[in-house]
Symmetry: C2
Subunit: 399 residues, 2 copies
């Protein structure tokens, strides 16, 4: 048995913070269990390195970008191992490659292909804490690779899965909340949430954990504990928890400002819809919430959301579509917020949608799009009604 | 055929300097030859990393220090490869380990055990410039290791030896001077110097190149060109050159402030002398210039030099010796400078020592110790006569 403890960049931003973490790991080590510590790059290190790369090239080679960015985590593991040594805890650092993490896929957003835990196990047998660089690995060609956004979470959960350990993600929030506590001060921290709910929450932008990492946790049954770094307060367990959780709605996730696009008069023909999304893809627009209503009078309408910065790209894509002879009408709307309610309880219980519609009607909050997944419902609403919606939903579902 | 081009930390201290170097390499690449670029860490990166380590531990683990410091060069190679790409030069970066550099010895001051050039040759076959991280390699255990002081020079010359390439060391001085031009403004830059002379000059603190690197150059017959980074001016070739160089004295090397220690009344017994140097070693004092005169009245006297900061350590060592029953007398003298003249011509010609003694007598410059090697003579003199000595020697030997 053992634990993988992951500390994010904010938790190791300074030498003083590293010392505090080292001391925390020491108390944990005194229980005698095997420990892997996964760390991210210190504070804003990655941002600084990206900036340097961008000063040299508008389109830096992705292999070289991985080579560059991986140094941030390598610095952190060496310093953390020194900090542990200074605390009297025998420790050894490893790069992703040294820890046996093999990757596949594209540079800058690789996936973990497999992990050879031999080196880690050998050091555990010697009684050492192993400090592993998050966010990185090595591909078949022997190149240093990185795992993309939130990659250190993925490293931690994947290592825990391979070693049969628990996984603790120490971050700068106290756990998973039903709703962002900055928006609803009375928000409750959850003691427990299921993998699926967390994946929806994460994907919907709750920001606590990378959804890929939660997915690996679910696949391999790794219990994940999310808690505030160096805090005494209990955090949140992410696990199977089907039976533990009785609540209908676990969480409420709210986006920042987004752009909503509605395209009308699309010929009712799958090819036409496909060419719209192809044109958007060519402009590298990351389309989020898509809703299409049933066709009327031989044409269909589709709404989707994307980032506010994609406005120009959307215009270009629409222009291309028209140029190709598909004479659609498009409308772009800013000042839009996306609100989602998530709960595994929704799977077996209807009525959440109905209660949401009543609530919006009662509060006089207009909504534009509605989409549903098995355990969530999302709405786009005018941003100026965001607070009213959050308060009403939090009250209605006792979040 | 090809060239290894090495750029030090000052030459790649900023993104702008990297761009200028990339452009310089491009013009070189246009000749069609295969190129390896070796780079050091940017500017003060290594110092900053050491400082962070020291904030975590007074005695950071050497393995972890290597893990930490090697990131500086790794950042440089990635950025340099991006810079070359931006100049239209196909390039790929490699860590020391990826470049096939295997090391042995102690962490933080490893030696290169061997180089497997397969990966570099494969990239040359694809027409790429290979950018290799200086100062680092990998040991048998798979740990990242560093080569100690001036290690990037060693990387460059060793790669040139293995690949059968020439080696160019681009630095912040215009080549090798007969005497430090900051001390003698009329100092002449040498067009050529032999490996042996350069090794003496380097060891005596001339500071242009790491003596180990020159030694590898000599061993494998690698011609080394030392020149100022991005300058049009011709630099200095370091090569066999026995026949090329007719001058008696090639160079004059001057130390900074040093401490001179004289130990008298040492019993004329090799064991007694040995215990003195053992006591000094236990205090980690790096003893430089040692001179012993023939015994008189059953005792011997030894003088040696060390760093000014070693004063306390020397006192402790002497205390230990006395405590062990060897009742020596010791004198510590500061404000001392070491001056050395170097020249391969001295090997076949006597008279340099004699001319030096006359010169000191004529100028009224006292000297304390004298030591000689096959191609050099060194003196310790009072620091306040340093300038007078330099001027007189430079004039006497037309440096």
């Amino acid at each position: 048995m053992g634990t993988v403890m992951k500390f994010g960049g904010t938790s190791v931003a300074t030498v003083e913070k590293m010392q505090a973490i080292a001391s925390f790991v020491r108390t944990r080590r005194e229980t005698g269990e095997n420990i892997v510590v996964v760390v991210s790059a210190m504070g804003k290190t990655t941002d600084r390195l990206v900036e340097m790369a961008m000063n040299l090239s508008d389109t830096p080679d992705p292999r070289e970008l991985d080579m560059l960015l991986s140094t941030g985590e390598q610095q952190s593991v060496a310093l953390m191992a020194m900090g542990l040594d200074a605390e009297g805890v025998a420790a050894i650092s490893m790069t992703g490659a040294q820890a046996g993490i093999r990757t596949e896929g594209k540079y800058t957003r690789n996936r973990i292909a497999n992990i050879d835990p031999t080196a880690i196990k050998a050091q555990h047998a010697l009684g050492k804490v192993v400090v592993v660089a998050g966010f990185q690995g090595m591909n078949e060609a022997g190149d240093i690779t990185t795992l993309g956004r939130g990659g250190s979470d993925t490293t931690a959960v994947a290592l825990a899965a391979k070693l049969g350990f628990d996984c603790a993600i120490y971050t700068d929030v106290e756990g998973v909340y039903s709703v962002d506590p900055r928006m609803v001060p009375s928000a409750k921290k959850l003691d427990q949430i299921s993998y699926e709910e967390m994946m929806e929450m994460a994907a919907l932008g709750a920001g606590v954990m990378e959804p890929r990492a939660v997915e690996i946790g679910k696949k391999y049954g790794v219990p994940i504990y999310v808690a505030k770094s160096l805090s005494e307060k209990a955090g949140t367990w992410i696990d199977e928890g089907e039976a533990m959780e009785k609540k209908l709605i676990t969480g409420l996730s709210v986006s920042g400002e987004i752009l909503m696009v509605t395209v009308e008069k699309i010929p009712n023909d799958p090819g036409a819809v496909a060419s719209i999304f192809q044109a958007l893809q060519e402009q590298e627009i990351n389309v989020d919430m898509i809703s299409q209503t049933a066709p009327m009078e031989g044409t269909v309408a589709i709404s989707f959301t994307c980032e506010v910065g994609d406005r120009e790209g959307v215009r270009k894509a629409i222009h291309t579509i028209k140029h190709d002879g598909i004479n659609v009408q498009a409308r772009l709307q800013g000042d839009i917020t996306k609100i989602s309610v998530v709960g595994i309880g929704m799977r077996d219980t209807s009525g959440v949608a109905s209660r949401m519609f009543q609530l919006f009607a009662r509060e006089g909050i207009p909504f534009f799009q509605v989409t549903t997944s098995e355990i969530s419902i999302s709405y786009t609403i005018p941003s100026d009604r965001k607070q009213a919606a959050i308060q009403a939903i939090a009250k209605e579902f006792e979040l």
